[in-house]
Amino acid sequence: MASRRRTLLKVIILGDSGYVNKKFSNQYKATIGADFLTKEVQFEDRLFTLQIWDTAGQERFQSLGVAFYRGADCCVLVYDVNVMKSFDNLNNWREEFLIQASPSDPENFPFVVLGNKIDIDGGNSRVVSEKKARAWCASKGNIPYFETSAKEGFNVEAAFQCMAKNALKNEPEEEM
């Protein structure tokens, strides 16, 4: 394998309406009206191009088509730490993904969970604790967990790195 090989990875972002759409992308860069955004990530000696797709609002009435899920290399599940229902629905989104995308090895498919908007109201309106979120992630095969904030782009880079890393099948999965 050439060491400088460029790998294209399709990353899809799922989560409850209003909490996800455009929000996560906006932390990195405003993408109003964009189909997907691309992000270059270097991991070890390899260069990855992450093609990050959000749901474009089609999740609002559970109307995502199967084409959206096809060929995903990584699935990012996002919830709002200030909204309990968005956390409760993570399980539904995970299952929906596994049904629709039907990955060949569902047990080891790389998911990443993001707890979003930790900076809102100085963290005072937070209803889902980090501990609770991490416990759920652990119960689903140790899904890597990150907390992010819209303000600073906090942890977003780390999440990108993790996606690249996990999408590499041979890499051992561990939290960063």
Binding site: T31, D35, F36, Q58
Partner: protein
């Protein structure tokens, strides 16, 4: 895509907010999806609904069991006699219940359906491909829909001639290499190809638009004559004429039978098709023939355009039937739609899929809905879907086979086309093959007979009763031994309905053609009819579709 879940609609329909839109689109077939995406791109607010839990309507690709339930019985919905919410007597509009229209008939299934059923993705609108140089491909590139669909090349184009399959020499190299043609035949064919290229080259290279003014090489008079006569005039032998007419120009009807043939291709049309074919071969370096097929089936195309629409702000609600149109009591103008949830949604324009119709009693007395009746019917297409144990031709994956008129038997008036697809386009498990067949017809019995005759020519059909009523074919052909076994098949007849233009637009059904050109044309007309000021997918909208940060960060 889960067909079983489509049977039970959720009882609690969501409430849609806002309640007023520029455009409401019912159904997610390709024309509807193109219109939603084009309108959203033009800045219109769009609500796009489908009663099915999946995208694509009559253009979808579905798992087994096939055909899906909605082919047997058209959609709809709650009992129209008991509208979920009674309109208040003081309201200024009346609710007119929509009538479901049955578009499929003569459905016949044979064989046991193969497992695993989920591994199959069967096109409702098959056989269908895109020309590499097709306007549909350009449109996908322009709209960004191309980000969502990948294509694979159709490997070969074959023609059924004198009881056997021959490859279609469709380029200079192919003609040069062909072993079945004599030297004189090759020379004649090369001459024609050159003539077409000169003719097209004398314009500005634009295939469709300029053929009339660019008459170098072919006289204006010749352009209006039937293409079949023109080819005779070029002294081309019968086999070459047949290949050009039916395998390259893709004529649907017998071109040598002026009386019974309703559509004689003019030389102008024929030359345009040849030119399109010619520019398709080699347009993409990794496409070996003129045609490409979307990986995972044609159902990907509407989904791609729906995503384009969603990205531009269109609102999507699957599993949402419509029960009625809302018509202004005084002006008799279209006002909006009533959803199965009982919610009323208002819009300036409405686009509907063809299985929904306005009752004729209303449409006759109502100028708004003029044209929305059975007169949209222009004919039928008989379609077959087959699953086979092996390829039609050894070593082949994705191939097109054309049965020109009279090739299956002397009374055959229309072309039968077959498209074989393999697991490398993601539509079936490895080792098995999906073959689509279709032919246009006026007589549904005759149409299904032609399809069955072609099936008998291509496959070993295990149950003899499957071919009963079929036309006896030249079964004793030498290659009989190598034919694959037919494991499962579905044959049905589909109505060909065309688009209708009024304040309430009705979209066309998948047509009898192999490509999307005609469907795209009528979709563009529907768009222009609604929004005369707007451009259908303006060219500048592409660049912002994919935002790439790689340049700035390095």
């Amino acid at each position: 895509m889960d067909e079983t879940s489509s049977i039970s609609f959720p009882s609690d329909y969501p409430t849609i907010d806002p309640t007023s839109f520029d455009l409401v689109v019912l159904g997610t077939g390709l024309p509807e999806s193109l219109l939603a995406a084009a309108a959203a791109a033009a800045g219109k607010s769009v609500l796009h609904l489908d009663h099915n839990p999946f995208y694509g309507s009559h253009f979808s690709s579905l798992s087994l069991p096939f055909p899906p339930s909605f082919l047997h019985s058209p959609p709809l919905p709650p009992d129209p006699s008991t509208p979920p919410s009674a309109p208040s007597p003081s309201s200024s509009y009346a609710a007119v219940n929509l009538r479901p229209h049955r578009l499929y008939s003569e459905i016949e299934i044979a064989g046991s359906s193969p497992e695993p059923s989920k591994a199959f993705l069967l096109d409702l609108a098959g056989p269908r491909v895109l020309y590499c140089a097709d306007e549909t491909v350009d449109l996908m590139l322009r709209s960004g829909a191309s980000h969502h669909v990948e294509f694979k090349s159709v490997d070969a184009n074959l023609i059924y001639w004198e009881g056997r399959l021959c490859s279609v020499p469709d380029s200079r190299q192919a003609i040069f290499k062909d072993r079945t043609l004599g030297l004189a035949e090759k020379r004649e064919m090369m001459k024609l190809l050159k003539l077409v290229q000169q003719h097209i080259g004398s314009g500005d290279g634009q295939v469709a638009a300029t053929a009339e003014e660019a008459a170098v090489g072919i006289s204006a008079e010749d352009l209006e004559t039937p293409f079949a006569e023109f080819l005779k005039k070029q002294r081309l032998p019968p086999k070459i004429r047949t290949i050009i007419l039916y395998a390259i120009a893709l004529a649907n009807h017998d071109q040598d039978n002026a009386e019974s043939c309703k559509k004689l291709i003019t030389t102008k049309q024929g030359i345009e098709s040849l030119a399109l074919y010619n520019s398709s071969v080699g347009r993409f370096p990794n496409a070996v023939s003129a045609f490409i097929y979307p990986i995972y089936g044609h159902g990907e195309l509407p989904q791609a355009f729906c995503r384009c629409a969603a990205v531009k702000g269109a609102l999507y609600v699957l599993r949402m039937p419509i029960v009625a149109l809302l018509i202004d009591k005084e002006s008799r103008q279209y006002k909006g739609v009533r959803l199965a949830s009982g919610q009323d949604i208002f819009s300036h324009h409405l686009v509907m899929e063809p299985s929904l119709q306005v009752p004729s009693s209303v449409s006759h007395s109502n100028t708004v809905c003029e044209g929305l009746n059975d007169s949209n019917l222009i004919g039928y297409a008989a379609r077959g879907v087959c699953i086979t144990s092996g390829p039609i031709q050894q070593g082949s994956s994705n191939i097109l086979v054309v049965f020109p008129p009279k090739s299956l038997h002397s009374g055959q008036l229309t072309t039968v086309r077959a498209l074989q697809l393999s697991s490398n386009v993601g539509v079936c498990p490895p080792g098995l093959f999906v073959v689509y067949l279709s032919t246009p017809c006026n007589d549904v019995i005759l149409g299904t007979e032609y399809v069955r005759a072609a099936m008998n020519a291509l496959f070993i059909v295990p149950n003899s009763d499957i071919s009963e009523g079929g036309i006896s074919t030249s079964d004793e052909v030498t290659e009989g031994e190598t034919r694959p076994t037919l494991l499962w098949s579905s044959v049905h007849v589909q109505e060909l309905t065309q688009a209708s233009f009024s304040a309430v637009c009705s979209c066309p059904m998948p047509d009898e053609n192999l490509d999307y050109r005609k469907i795209l044309e009528s979709t563009k007309q529907l768009f222009t009819n609604m929004y005369p000021q707007e451009e259908f997918f303006p060219k500048h909208s592409t660049s912002e579709n994919a935002e790439d940060d790689s340049g700035s960060s390095e």
